[in-house]
Assembly symmetry: C2
Homo-oligomer: 217 residues x 2
């Protein structure tokens, strides 16, 4: 995944035509497009290959199963044309390792969820976040996912993982996180959804965020 | 999901024709068929509707996202014809609650993963297992998933959740768990995969396990 605009689009739409239209519009303004299960279940796995014509694709599947099932999922997603898969770390070292090993073989990326920003993430995930970040660093995953809504946590996670791993940060825009603050806190890419895909002019919305990012670099 | 044979088939194959052939063969011998993302990604979501002609379908998607994404996933899976979805509890009360509420509205089931049986489950999930079981009970989910490879844990989980919730237990057969021991430990359904779907005679393999279960009831 090339680091140019430092912006990732979270393409949280369900309709494949809309997904393609928006992806085409933001080409060049985003480094990657993140898609989740809702779009893939609605459109079929082949939507990944179609969107890959416009940008690198990150499959945000929060993969959280036993090692063998994790591998079967990542294999299909990479085969479909995705460049990266987002996996949960709470299922443990072996579930993560099989994904990281597969990604390495294929020159692809795995990003590991360290913590999440919804209220329920405080129940059990919050305490595990730093352990998961260390696990991701030990296994040399490509990076971790840490919320833009809590820039102070991004700084903490950066201390744990060092500079070898990337941080990608959702929560910018409609969820309240600031692109500039999150970049200054040490994230590599900010992830923006509604502010771009619900805009009448997705390309302009993306360009505005890229300008905001460039201003603080 | 009707409790007749107390047997669930874990249909961990990738080919849709094979999935249909095996499902047809075991009709009447299993109460449900559990399918995961590898089959659904390979065959499309509509495979769920096709297999639902032969038994109740449990979508073992280990759903582990923010509440809104969890809802979007469960909606599509129920719309496709599944009777139940397996979700992770690790992501917290709100991520679970939105799934349970949706299932209740539609007269469907949610089963919550309390702990898993692969080695990495000891890293972070094991300690959270009892909290997750209590969360599932508080929210009146349909049941929990607890490993047949550790019948003593099934007993502990039963004490926590009481008799209102069901327990379904994977790990019987090739993974070493015993159907009889797991039923005696208090599980409602045992989940068997390879021993049935890799058999030359899946119907006979299923019938043999059902006999073993009936012997201890």
């Amino acid at each position: 995944m090339e680091k140019n605009t430092r912006l990732i689009l979270a393409l949280d739409v369900l309709d494949s035509d809309e997904a393609i239209r928006i992806s085409e519009a933001v080409t060049g303004h985003v480094d990657a497009i993140k898609v989740g299960y809702p779009l893939v279940l609605a459109s079929g796995l082949q939507i990944i290959g179609k969107l890959a014509e416009y940008a690198s694709i990150i499959a945000d599947f929060k993969v959280a199963d036993i090692p063998n099932t994790n591998r079967l999922i990542c294999e299909q997603v990479f085969d479909a044309g995705a460049d990266a898969v987002i996996v949960q770390g709470f299922t443990g070292h072996d579930s993560l390792e099989i994904c990281v090993d597969l990604a390495r073989e294929r020159n692809k990326d795995i990003f590991v969820v360290t913590e999440m920003s919804h209220p329920g993430a405080l129940d059990l995930m919050q305490d595990a976040g730093e352990k998961i970040a260390r696990m991701a660093a030990d296994q040399k995953a490509s990076g971790v996912v840490a919320p833009a809504t809590r820039p102070e946590r991004v700084k903490e996670i950066r201390k744990i993982i060092g500079n070898e791993l990337a941080i990608i940060s959702p929560g910018v825009g409609a969820q309240g996180g600031s692109a500039a603050d999150t970049i200054m806190a040490g994230t590599d890419w900010v992830i923006v959804g509604r502010k771009i895909y619900q805009s009448d002019d997705p390309a302009k919305a993306a360009k505005d965020i890229v300008s905001e990012i460039k201003d603080v670099l």
